[in-house]
Symmetry: D2
Subunit: 351 residues, 4 copies
């Protein structure tokens, strides 16, 4: 397969750097352009980005000159097949729409368009069929290109664990998250705020988990998605962990369900996707009494698998409780967008 | 008031050291004896205990010679009015029962006797009337002394926050804890286990929260306690925080209740106790969107107040969700036992 | 003694908040005014400052309206006897000089004026006699007021430990620091930068330790200070600790000196000062093989004592090596400025 | 090349687990036997070892039955070509000597035999020629096998950085370490001891750095090693970092040397070894002002490279100061023993 050139919007930030890292050596994609704010534009990427990932800054990216947003339409960028977006919320909407207008396929990690009815909010192992919204979107908006989004980091982890349980009849879901600091971005959270501490608040996070989950797990019904018919109630918290969101989940089922049945559902869940970033097992069951743990499990499946464990009966209603954990900047952000792009290629949405 | 001499059982461990620290300069109590395992017996306390608290090892305790358990009945110990127990579970039952037999009032932080029907499980601001079980206990067992217990650390924090809500009609409670490492004891948790990590499991903790809460909030009915008529469903987790347990709590009420009504219930909750360790406000309401936090709030009320915040409506049933936080080794352990002892003195159970 | 009203310049930052905290209930000083940048000016302090200290925001400060820098000369501020400065470097020089011109005594924690020949750089237990430079300064500059400074946080800790050793004949000093994150300010250091990490670089810190130490330990010689006649060579590093700078120090003496002689020098070192913030023991010797430690020792002497330990012979020249530790934002910053101000009052420099 | 079967002594501990991890898929070696204490013997490795590494417990090791020490001589173990030793100090000497007697080549990470005159203490990039001591050792002791050792973790990191500087004429070395918790073993250091803390003491560590360094960098002189002709003075400290020892090093040269000359020496240093664990660059120079950092640099060269940075002139004598960092359980322990074994094979010491 020929390599498609791709661009990264918002390339210098925390999620942007993950895009650059994960795209290195990608068998289908090749980094073609890096875009960032005026402050970074014109500098070599190695000078513009304060590289904070343990792996080496990829050589090809290091020397690339960062472009400003208004250079997106420049002729040299026409060869880009996909734009990955890690833009800050305030500029994301305008830039992503402009990209779509110009004919680019945008695979976005940004929240701003996720809940729009004609924008697919995709986790391939769950709802790749929602990609059918792309045609609606293009037609509605008169765009040559389109925008596809992936959910919020904690939503992705939880939703992947809920998907196998759908056939068992979910009634309500409670979730308490213990989220890593990398989710706040490189400068988002001061060390004095989180050392020896828990911050029991993450702006807008609970609403995202409560709403996005229902769209992802919903059913495509003609021109829109009908929300999944249950309720999610989230409480979100930051803990002093570098990477990996851990969450305690209670699922109350419509009818009595055993912990073994839930475990079997996890074990039997598999993925049809064989693209480079698709993990062999989207959901891994840990048998140990004290797993999953972020330090030990975040890199499972190259950071693309969600690990679950401690599957046990609750004592309210038909409740089962369990722990889920996933890498928030790989499966939960840049890796998610890349997997979406792979599926777009495979399904022919990207020429 | 004359000072009563007190002993500490299991004085060298994590909770034992907190007893020694908190008893220093106590206006009613004076340290009279320290008991520990054979390994420590015969040594000066300063040599037997690896003091790990930031404050200075109190001088009087430092020079005291640690006694073995079988010296409890020695004539010199007869003057002890109270035995505080921080014993490891495996020896606690035998030693505490022996103390009660010998006529001592035992104020215990240990789990082993908490759920026995004639053993009071006390948080004074909640159920000081349960102390009436003492007479039953003495009569049942033919003891001159007696055992009074306080709940598990995380149970105390949650139960104090639930007490003001009882009149609103609690139906079910969900709780996810983020617990400090000091709860595992000084050697209980290796640094490699918890640095940059969450451990989503604490042995027996969930069962304690689910059962003890109902006894504490239950109603004394003749010779026993009738459990509070609701259900608790807990998920317990360890995070890299030194002191202070934080927890996300969802309370589903029998009827619709507003977040303001819950907040008012917290604000109007007060304590009748004016003893040295009784906090002026057992429950403090934080208005900031990101509080309470363990580093900032664990020492509120000298570590004896529970802080609550983020009181908001859930979206399942009549649910209100909030965050509670309290100091696990002060309010949640040694401070709780000391407060219980103060109330025992005030109410005349200790001569 | 009547209470003097004092102002805090740069009141909302990390060091500014410590000033506000430490001045609460001060027996000699009373908070009279808070100054900060335009962004904060006009707001109540509780709204302008994101209070991050575990203790409660003092009530009097909470409601005080923050003033902009250009209000310093306003008539209502004339009653201020002292200005404590925690200003950011770029504005400090101009504002502090303006204050001195207006007749205020400025007790500054800022680096900018420390090394000017007529500006006293003071640690009272070391060189209170250098306050004689104040007259020179006023006369040189035609000011009614004056500026007195305290050294950099790590310099203070080391210098206090070196003072007792001066009579033994210091030849060279090597120091490697392990500094707390609070030294970088509340937003100075992102959590992703320091969790599970060491940052072996702190901008300008090594130069400060190498130069300031020699001025403080120098000898007043007429109108200026003659540097202490030895050399300091520093390597400075940040570690994931909230408060308390720890440092490994090697002192090479001109002649052979025993570890016992060094220990005795520490033990015999005492302070003539009895003002509120003067610690009874400026230097505390820890005998345990693994002390001092920041978590256990930073609050010694209410955070104003430096703790030393592990005094042992080196194997190069006449070297003795030891560990020193002190609270970087108390002894090393705001507490240092307050102690300086107390001494200024006691010695009659402030009416 | 045919794969040689190898055994791991002390396979369940921190260093033992690293051996098992690093040997997985090794092109020259194949895990043949795991030995541990009586407590573990007879269990499958997956049940005996509490696997704490982020990567998956290798399948072949998981199912292997752990053998007791006294099974070493069993016929089934005769096919083992190498014994890697991660034994606790108290049993290491007897067991390792017994192995050598039985004819095994022992590649040991344990301290006990390192300083014996006829035991090679090897870092291949530095002193592979010292392997000539093996013949002496076999002849002295009448063994068919032999013992080869690698230095202490912090010694390895420092020594690799000193080797390129030898030609410049080293006079004295000062080093202050900031060591990771994994160096203390899985249960060696409680979380309460190190969270938000520095422990300025590591038992015996300073002596090891001061002595082992001189043997490694020494010159083989007939039947023994003549120590390198300079002095090392170490101060060792533990910090809350998972993996990676960072150290501040001052090298005082006999004659004036520029920082550039030191940097060039690092840049020009290369390794003759091309075995699987030999890093392409044993010493990597970081140009950034704030590197190396353990989180970002510990995995350089698959954890086998030492990173140096901040090379600058000191202000005492002919001093140059710099920072060095290396992975303490890879380059500093198990990886070091494996590299030694590879070189033993390559040089024909192992048939």
């Amino acid at each position: 397969m020929r390599k498609r050139k791709v661009g990264v919007l918002g390339a210098t930030g925390s999620v942007g750097q993950r895009f650059v890292q994960l795209l290195e050596g990608h068998p289908w994609f090749e980094l073609g352009a890096l875009f960032a704010s005026e402050r970074s534009a014109g500098k070599r990427y190695k000078d513009a980005a304060q590289w904070f990932l343990p792996s080496k800054l990829p050589q090809e990216a290091a020397e690339m000159v960062v472009q400003p947003m208004d250079a997106i339409g420049a002729p040299a960028n026409e060869e880009l097949a996909i734009m990955f977006s890690a833009l800050p919320g305030d500029v994301a909407s305008k830039v992503e729409r402009r990209c779509a207008e110009l004919g680019f396929a945008v695979s976005s990690n940004v929240a701003v368009h996720r809940m729009e009815p004609d924008v697919p909010l995709i986790i391939p192992e769950i709802n790749a069929d929602h990609l059918a919204l792309i045609e609606m979107q293009k037609s509605n908006r008169g765009w040559d290109g389109f925008i596809v989004t992936n959910p919020n980091c904690s939503t992705i982890v939880m939703a992947l664990s809920l998907k196998p349980l759908l056939p068992l009849g979910i009634h309500t879901v409670h979730v308490a998250t213990m989220q890593a600091v990398s989710g706040a971005g490189y400068t988002g959270l001061g060390s004095m705020a989180i050392l020896d501490n828990v911050i029991p608040y993450i702006g807008k996070e609970e609403g995202k988990m409560e709403r996005e989950t229902l769209k992802i797990l919903g059913r495509l019904d003609g021109a829109s998605v009908r929300n999944a018919p249950f309720t999610v109630c989230a409480s979100c918290h930051r803990v002093p962990v570098m990477d990996g969101h851990t969450m305690a989940i209670w699922v109350n089922f419509k009818d009595a369900v055993s912990a073994d049945a839930v475990k079997d559902a996890f074990l039997n869940f598999s993925s049809e996707f064989k693209t480079p970033f698709a993990p062999e097992k989207p959901v891994i069951v840990r048998e140990e009494p004290n797993r999953p743990q972020p330090r030990l499990d975040r890199d499972a499946g190259n950071g693309m698998s969600v690990s679950v464990g401690r599957i046990r009966s609750g004592n309210v209603g038909n409740e089962i409780k369990y722990i889920a954990q996933g890498h928030n900047t790989v499966r939960g952000a840049s890796g998610a967008s890349i997997l979406n792009a792979e599926v777009l290629v495979e399904r022919g949405y990207i020429p």
